[in-house]
């Protein structure tokens, strides 16, 4: 069997690794616009100079050198012909496939504000080309406006600040990382960024731009009426699945490629995984999707069922936070918080089930919270000792020595 994988991000590499393990004799062809395998979650370390391009490579050692695996880097897919089982690219002849995985990820979605979409000095932060462009634009301590105060915006700001740049972060919400943090936890990070020289304009998004005759943005205008002069802009305003050629190839897709629970698209023998499916924007889920697709490409019957995606960890300036679930309480939710000089912790509990957890300052050994939340495990018997809860209260052993949860879901 010949497997073709388009894209070498989290999902694509996970699929290649899985197929290699399951079917050492099968042929694998990876096709990617990227010339280097690199982790998008580490781009800010490249901008700051903290990591080399080579050290952004997250693939298992030797995977791309393994026998019967060919990698066409710097090659962009233009369309696929599902009837003929062919992938057409921008260089060389068509590539035939027995099974195809579309793992092309997403592209930066820049809002139609002023000249943000068209100006040459506005960059997304999605791949290594973006990171290189940002690092170059930032040389010499130039002024950056980062539009967006989510993960990518703060990543960009962090990298730029380490380079010595002057950075202003603009966000529409009143606090940073509004998807992951409550206002208290967000304020702690904001203060740390400010201590490193970062300025924030929150609660007022970008409403326009000023440009010079060369078409470069020279200032970002805010809804508040303020004008932020800048030398370049990072648009950290979200992503959209990279589906253009997929749609044109007759594969069912709207905003994202449509897949079933086995990651199959509408076309026979064509699968999709990762950001291109729009199912989640986080790394572990993209990997799971890539693994499920790969198993099915190898003839198994795997299902993508671990779909929970409201989970993240934050690590800036030596402060770690775990955020899982929904932290906005409703109705009669029980909200528990505690804090000291180094920690802030919050639990939101509804009808005996944990809906959200936020741990800032000490996240060690906290992985069990995700399991309790996503599986709706009843913790009402543990409320008197909830801060000391651990997996031991749900301890169970399989015959082969692996752990399992010995508690049933309540819903």
């Amino acid at each position: 069997m010949k497997h073709v994988i388009i894209g070498v991000g989290a999902a694509g590499v996970a699929a290649a690794k899985t197929i290699r393990n399951l079917r050492p004799d099968d042929e694998i062809v990876c096709i990617s616009t990227d010339r280097e395998v690199h982790s998008r979650c580490m781009l800010h370390h490249y901008i700051s100079g903290g990591r080399s391009l080579e050290s952004l490579n997250f693939a298992p050692d030797g995977l791309f050198e393994s026998p019967r695996l060919t990698w066409l880097g710097g090659v962009t897919v233009k369309r696929i012909d599902a009837a003929a089982g062919l992938v057409h690219t921008d260089s060389g002849g068509p590539v035939s496939y027995g099974r195809l995985l579309i793992a092309t990820g997403a592209v930066s979605a820049v809002p139609p504000v002023g000249a943000l979409r068209t100006a040459k000095n506005v960059f997304g932060l999605r791949d290594i080309a973006d990171a290189k462009a940002i690092a170059q634009a930032a040389s010499g301590g130039r002024r950056a406006v980062v539009v967006g105060a989510g993960f990518v915006g703060l990543d960009a700001a962090c990298g730029l600040l380490e380079l010595g740049g002057k950075v202003t972060v603009v966000g529409t919400a009143d606090s940073v990382l509004p998807q992951q943090l409550d206002e208290h936890a967000a304020a702690v990070y904001q203060a740390r960024f400010e201590a490193h020289g970062c300025a924030f304009r929150l609660g007022a998004g970008a409403s326009g731009t000023e440009s010079d005759p060369a078409g470069k943005v020279t200032a970002v205008l805010l809804g508040s009426g303020e004008r932020l002069p800048c030398d370049f802009v990072v648009a950290a305003t979200g992503v959209r699945p990279a589906v253009d050629w997929v749609r044109e190839s007759g594969i069912e897709a709207e905003r994202a490629v449509k897949v079933d629970e086995g990651m199959r698209t509408s076309a026979p023998d064509v699968y999709a995984a990762g950001d291109v499916t729009g199912l989640s924007g986080i790394w572990p889920n993209a990997v799971k999707q890539g693994e499920v697709a790969a198993r099915n490409m190898c003839g198994q019957s795997a299902v993508y069922d671990d779909t929970y995606a409201l989970k993240n960890t934050v690590n800036f300036y030596g402060l770690q936070t775990l955020s899982v679930g929904n932290l906005a309480p409703a109705g009669n939710d029980l909200v528990l918080t505690r804090e000291d000089n180094a920690r802030y912790e919050k639990l939101v509990i509804r009808d005996g089930v944990v809906k959200g957890v936020l741990l800032q300052g000490d996240i060690g050994n906290s992985g069990f919270w995700q399991y309790l939340i996503k599986n709706k495990i009843d913790v009402s018997g543990h409320l008197d000792n909830i801060w000391r809860l651990s997996y031991t209260r749900f301890y169970g052993l399989e015959e082969n020595g692996e752990y399992r949860y010995a508690a049933a879901a309540t819903v």
Binding site: R295, G318, G364, R393, G401
Partner: protein, 173 residues
């Protein structure tokens, strides 16, 4: 593959396993103590272990079970490790042949998604710098195998050979 097996009923919470783990991962002999001749750092006597040095952290831990007993928790080196699925730097990889999840601190970018993703709450950031992941390495550098098992005086821990992971070919259509 080998796995550390646990009989919680035999655990009396003595924490010899945790001390042995600390000793196996200690940074250096305590200044002023005589190192054991010919011993590597990992083989130094536990009597020279500095319990207050935050770099000497245990990878395992024991909790009360809520019923008057103890539950020792050790990394399972799972067949489908959630920590590895969540690792965006490639620092965590499962060595399929050995059946062990290996950690490369040089690759690690300290995102700590593995801490979030382990359903059993085993990994943690290191206490001192919070820039590395502290996780069981099966004492792979030591010929004698996992130190915790060798240190357990009650027989609550032992090594067992379990079936190596088949590449899940059983459900091929």
């Amino acid at each position: 593959m080998k796995r550390i097996f646990i009989d919680p009923g035999k655990c009396d919470g003595c924490m010899n396993c945790s001390l042995a783990c600390m000793n196996a991962h200690r940074a250096a002999p305590v200044p002023g103590t005589a190192p054991d001749p010919g011993a590597t750092v990992e083989e130094q006597s536990v009597y020279t272990l500095d319990l207050t040095d935050p770099t000497n952290e245990a990878r395992n831990f024991i909790h009360a079970d809520g019923k008057g007993g103890y539950l020792p928790l050790f990394c399972r080196h799972c067949a489908r490790p959630e920590c590895v699925s969540s690792c965006m730097s490639g620092a965590l990889q499962r060595d399929q042949a050995a059946g062990q999840v290996r950690y490369d601190p040089e690759k690690c970018a300290a995102c700590f998604m593995c801490v979030m993703n382990c359903p059993y709450g085993l990994p943690k950031p290191d206490q001192l710098t919070r820039s590395k992941v502290v996780k069981c390495d099966f004492c792979v550098r030591l010929a004698a195998g996992p130190s915790c098992v060798r240190a357990c005086p009650t027989g609550a821990l032992w090594i067992e050979e379990v079936a190596a992971d088949t590449p899940d070919l059983e459900d091929v259509k």
